[in-house]
């Protein structure tokens, strides 16, 4: 299953600002109370970076013009806070960090927010594919200028590694394991020497030394073969963190409803997400993903990942469907209708699994837990 297929069909991407802009007030607020020691090139100190990712209970009071405003630092990542501390400590040490996990576990999201807080810039991104070339990693040339003036700094078109080494920032390398082995080797030599050679240029511009603060956050998908086939030389240079799907149903519900709310607001739809319906969706995702129901009954896992990202998608789509087609709030019916599309991609066995999940598990919940679940069970005819 390719990840592209699982991406939100609603083009959320376009509306999405980079984290440092979207959360600029929060970053500013954290900066205003930042007293901790920090590496020279870091925008915030490690503790404040941590605050930015996991949120703070109390708002920060900050002067804005001649007014004092309260800024809440929201939680960006739900899950293992200790892992976040480790990730930050890895970035503090010289090691690049590789976030691995199933698709939709917020690896990219975490990488974006970490770089937003550490560099105030999350746009040094390389998207790894089988076709990624050295140009896209290090630098390339403006050929017109190259022909006119010969090799010179002016003709050089910097790519993320060049930029980040020069400025002491962090490169985000998405889906690093999809790159060819040659590209992986290139990365190894940059990482071990911490220099980038530009043989085309005369000294002193023929070499770029990595400034302090230079680092890499890679992401890789464990559903791809890639992680295991990564060259061991490259593996050795990284610190790994495994990002797990959210375990806690409550947190997942919170996240999904928050994201749905943001979406509805942006789309100008004046409706609220329905927490009960979201609970139905999230419970289904959570139980099918983990292969076991809250009652301890085994559930057949579908071949797709059932990620939180997709739960958000189902919730949003269900709200949209209800709004545009039925002119009503999201409900059990629209949840089931959109669930099917998300679970059943190109594998019809998954349809059976979803059916049997409803026939066994949801049936039981409908008996034990009452109306809400009974409605959900009744909506199984859409499957």
């Amino acid at each position: 299953m390719s990840e592209e297929k699982q991406k939100n069909p609603v083009k959320k991407e376009i509306m999405r600002m980079p984290a440092e802009i979207r959360f600029s007030d929060q970053l500013e607020a954290l900066k205003s109370i930042d007293e901790g020691d920090k590496p020279e090139s870091w925008y915030l100190s490690p503790s404040r970076v941590n605050d930015f990712i996991v949120g703070r209970e109390e708002p920060i009071k900050m002067k804005k013009g001649n007014k004092t405003v309260e800024v809440f630092i929201t939680r960006k990542f739900y899950g293992n806070d200790i892992m976040i501390q480790r990730a930050i400590a890895s970035l503090l040490s010289d090691r690049p960090l590789l976030l691995i996990g199933e698709p939709g576990t917020a690896k990219s999201w975490l990488s974006e927010n970490l770089t937003a807080a550490i560099c105030n810039n999350s746009l040094n991104v390389i998207q790894g594919t089988a076709g990624t070339t050295e140009d896209q990693i290090k630098y390339s040339w403006n050929y017109a200028s190259l022909i006119a003036n010969g090799p010179s700094l002016e003709a050089l078109v910097p790519a993320p590694f060049y930029n980040c080494m020069k400025r002491g920032e962090i490169v985000r390398f998405e889906e690093i394991t999809r790159c060819s082995h040659e590209i992986q080797d290139t990365i190894i030599s940059i990482l071990s020497d911490k220099v980038l050679a530009i043989p085309e240029l005369p000294p002193p511009n023929d070499i770029v030394f990595a400034q302090k603060g230079f680092g890499v956050i890679g992401t890789a998908n464990t559903r791809d073969r890639g992680v295991n086939e990564m060259s061991s030389a490259l593996k050795r240079r990284f610190n790994f963190e495994t990002v797990h799907p959210i375990k806690n149903i409550k947190e997942e519900i919170e996240l999904v409803s928050k994201e749905t709310e943001i979406f509805l607001e942006k789309a100008g739809i004046k409706r609220q997400p329905d927490l009960d319906v979201i609970e139905l969706i999230v419970t289904t995702f959570n139980e099918m993903r983990n292969g076991i129901s809250a009652e301890g009954i085994q559930v057949a896992k579908p071949s797709v990942v059932m990620s939180t990202a997709e739960a958000v998608e189902v919730s949003v789509n269900s709200a949209m469907y209800s709004h545009y087609i039925k002119n009503e709030d999201m409900n059990a019916n629209s949840a089931v209708i959109n669930l099917v599309g998300s679970v059943v991609k190109d594998n019809y066995e998954d349809l059976d699994k979803l059916r049997s999940y409803f026939n066994v598990i949801i049936k039981k919940k409908a008996e034990d837990k009452g109306k809400l679940w009974a409605n959900y069970y009744d909506a199984r005819d859409y499957i």
Binding site: S47, R56, D81, I88, A89, S93, R95, I100, K235, G291
Partner: protein, 813 residues
């Protein structure tokens, strides 16, 4: 993330602060109260300082007063920590009221035991050693177990309190809401981390006074909060214990007016004891000696950590203790580095290769984490995190196992102590008492013992005792004959036949079992409990333990076991092993019902979960590799029998038939034998028509694939349901006519399979079918079997044998 971690002053009122100050700098210079936490090296370190500063003559320690006679043994050269005082109480008068509830019957007293483990760096042990060196008199001042239980009886609202007593005897300091909250509030992942942070790593640079200020302020707050909320179920006991201790302290004080007394207790008592004004006689202790010194191990001390105030990493702490007297202050960092190197060395040659660069990186990371978390030096948690991040190359769930296990092994350590008991080995005593009580022979020659386990209580007890000995490898008895629930043999037997023989070598077995308890029963139970608690028990092992628990009479362990079994079943088991578990569950239900009525519900639930688990695995069957098909279909037959069993009314066959229906409809390719079996199963539940069976068979025999699929189909079908053949004329007819149509060579290729399919029939069924078949093809059975001569019979036999041989040679049948 730690927020307000900067050392702010606690909002404690002036008066309270004065109280704490008066403990640290008392006006009365004859008694000094010193507060510790068990197994804290830093507490021990400051304890040595107080010895030097206060220079006591007499030392009082929070240990069970009735075990005071063991002090000599503890400090004896022959004893080496880790060791533990094991005290026990045998409720002969049923004062707790649980005889017959937690024991098989009322005449059998409940035995409860409690452990006080010491490592070489436990403050209590350090104090005992120091006092001995200095020639100070020492006493234990805490309430004896027996009296403690009296108070606890009132608050123990359910039997599990006493059932798991030995695990909980140190629970005071770990099960508190306050601790839970403060841990969470400070962003720590466990109370241990909170403690290590505040009272070990960030405290050991303190002056003695600063340290005491820290510890006692915390203890005071904890105590205050707990008292307000009466949140310890055992609060009342704490109060009673303190009264007892206060009286004792007063007693020793009046007895020794000129001596300087050092009182060492848990910090929570230290903030209370000085203010309890009680005049005292020496506290009463039970007449009977009921304690022993047992060797202990780092592993067991760490095992405690789950539910009591044990420590996570005894070996790690011992390194701290070894280095703590060095002037160089970076001990925690040094230890972290050493551990990192150690783990690297241990991982050599394993799949998880760690380089020197990884060590350096892990070390830096650990330091970064420490400073991110506002610690002066690297803590155990920082160390663990650094190991996780730097040593595990890939997905932690796939590549993490080696590294984590090795790290865990090193941090816990493998040290085992030795215990000297001047009064002899109590376990040995118990063994001989039991022999006498159960009238088992103590002779060095073989004797037979019969136990009628279903009929007589005393016999059952005898059997349980013998099983316990067997389980503990104490070579006394051997089971010659009896029901075997594991091999599922001799289940109809109502008696067990044992051969027993005593020999002097038996006595060698006892010392090494002492850490588990001082009665055979307790030792066996604790051992089994430990095995059950292991993390990676397989389904088979767990079933095995279930049977052991039954045989040894530890029915109360059932709950845990069943719980674990349920989890196991749901976790990556194959269809056949789930069925094995399921049939074991059924056996238990059927054959031991009289013994386990109380636990029937549990077993039923297990059977239910296993049954649904098995149905969800059915999908596995449709594409099995050849060598697994046979077993799987047999398992399916068992599953079907269970689903048809009317005694098991809590099982719903619907789930089974429905899932099979789904699979058959799913247009996926199915192994022919499994398809036949599925069909047979559905037919036995009347979920499928004769018509469809016939069609499926036709589909197989006319398929362009492999004609053997047809015979395979029949094998599966008949294994699950032979009645089709008998009840349905149609099927037989179709088989016959279709076989007649195929080519002779083809027929030969499926003949062995067909033969196999029909072997599941018994002679009477064969008769019946042959006569039906005869009718079908219009011949009369010519042989009148009733009149056949012996000669003819033997020549028939010969022919049959020849056919058999030929088949075997040619077809491997």
């Amino acid at each position: 993330m730690p927020k307000a971690r900067k050392s702010k002053k606690l909002p404690i009122a002036e008066e309270e602060l004065n109280k704490i100050a008066s403990i640290i700098n008392p006006s009365d210079s004859s008694v000094y109260y010193f507060g510790v936490r068990h197994h804290s090296p830093v507490a021990s370190y400051f304890l040595t300082k107080i010895f030097a500063k206060f220079n006591p003559d007499l030392v009082l320690i929070e240990g069970p007063a009735d075990a005071e006679y063991l002090i000599e043994d503890i400090i004896n050269q022959k004893s080496q920590p880790p060791i533990a005082i094991h005290t026990y109480f045998s409720d002969k008068r049923n004062s707790l009221g649980y005889n017959g509830v937690l024991t098989p019957k009322e005449e059998i007293p409940l035995r409860i035991s409690s452990w006080y483990p010491f490592t070489e760096y436990s403050p209590e042990y350090v104090a005992l050693k120091l006092a001995a060196e200095r020639g100070n008199e020492v006493h234990f001042i805490d309430l004896p177990l027996q009296d403690r239980l009296k108070f606890e009886k009132e608050i123990a609202n359910d039997k599990s309190f006493f059932q798991k007593y030995s695990q909980w005897s140190e629970r005071y300091l770990s099960e508190s809401l306050f601790m839970e909250r403060i841990t969470k509030k400070s962003g720590m992942r466990s109370f241990n981390e909170f403690w290590n942070h505040n009272f070990e790593i960030n405290a050991f640079h303190n002056s003695l006074e600063e340290y005491l200020q820290r510890v006692l302020t915390f203890a005071y707050t904890l105590r205050w909060f707990s008292e307000q909320n009466e949140e310890y179920p055992t609060w009342k006991t704490i109060v009673e214990r303190e009264k007892y201790m206060a009286r004792n302290i007063d007693y020793y004080r009046t007895q020794n007016p000129d001596k300087k007394i050092l009182v060492i207790t848990g910090a929570m008592h230290t903030v209370s004891l000085p203010f309890i004004k009680l005049k005292g006689k020496k506290g009463k202790i039970p007449k009977e000696k009921s304690s022993a010194l047992a060797p202990y191990s780092y592993k067991r001390i760490s095992d405690l950590s789950g539910y009591t105030a044990g420590i996570e990493s005894p070996y790690y702490q011992s390194l701290v203790w070894d280095k703590i007297h060095q002037n160089n202050g970076q001990i925690y960092n040094e230890i972290a580095l050493n551990v990192l190197i150690n783990i690297k060395e241990e991982l050599k040659g394993s799949n998880s290769f760690v380089s020197t660069a990884d060590i350096m990186n892990a070390y830096h990371m650990a330091k970064n984490l420490a400073s991110l978390r506002s610690r002066h030096q690297i803590s155990l948690e920082d160390l663990r995190d650094a190991i996780t991040a730097s040593y595990i190359k890939g997905d932690i769930e796939i590549f993490g196992f080696d590294v984590i296990r090795e790290a865990q092994r090193i941090l816990i350590g493998s040290k085992v102590g030795s215990a000297f008991n001047s009064e002899g080995n109590p376990l040995q005593k118990d063994f001989y008492q039991q022999l006498k009580k159960l009238r088992l022979p103590k002779e060095d020659k073989t004797k037979n013992v019969r136990c009628e386990i279903y009929k007589r209580e005393t016999h059952r007890m005898k059997s349980q005792f013998l099983h316990q000995l067997h389980y503990l490898n104490i070579s006394y008895g051997k089971l010659e004959k009896g029901p075997d629930y594991i091999a599922k043999k001799n289940l109809e037997l109502l008696t067990e036949q044992w051969r027993v023989r005593w020999s002097p070598y038996i006595d060698d077995a006892f010392p090494k079992l002492l850490p588990y308890g001082i009665s055979i029963l307790n030792v066996a139970r604790n051992k089994l409990e430990e095995q059950i608690g292991e993390k990676y028990n397989s389904l088979e092992e767990l079933l095995n333990y279930l049977v052991k628990a039954l045989q040894m009479g530890f029915l109360d362990l059932f709950e845990d076991l069943i719980d674990q079994l349920n989890k196991r079943v749901n976790y990556g088991q194959s269809f056949t092993s789930i069925i094995r578990a399921l049939s074991a569950g059924i056996l238990l239900l059927k054959y031991r019902t009289s013994l386990i009525t109380k636990y029937n519900k549990l077993v039923e639930n297990f059977v239910y979960v296993t049954f649904t688990g098995a149905t969800s695995k059915l999908k596995e069957l449709i594409q099995l590799p050849e060598d697994e098909i046979e077993e799987a279909v047999l398992s399916l037959r068992i599953l079907n029998q269970i689903s048809l069993d009317y005694d098991l009314e809590f099982i719903s066959a619907e789930i089974l038939t429905e899932s099979i229906g789904l699979l058959l409809d799913s247009s996926q390719k199915i192994v022919p034998r499994v398809e036949g079996a599925f069909i047979g199963l559905l037919f036995s539940h009347n979920k499928i028509s004769e018509e469809e069976i016939v069609n499926r068979f036709k589909g197989r025999i006319h398929s362009n694939e492999n004609i053997q699929g047809a015979s395979e189909f029949l094998i599966g079908l008949f294994l699950l349901n032979k009645t089709v053949l008998i009840t349905s004329d149609k099927l037989l007819e179709v088989i016959h006519t279709n076989l007649m149509q195929i080519k002779y060579e083809l027929f030969l290729t499926i003949l062995p399979g067909l033969r196999k399919a029909f072997t599941s029939l018994i002679p009477r069924e064969i008769d019946y079918i042959s006569s039906k078949l005869a009718k079908l093809i219009g011949i009369k059975p010519e042989l009148d079997l009733g009149l056949i001569s012996p000669e003819a019979l033997s020549s028939l036999k010969e022919i049959d044998e020849q056919i058999n041989n030929q088949l075997q040679e040619e077809w491997g049948l």
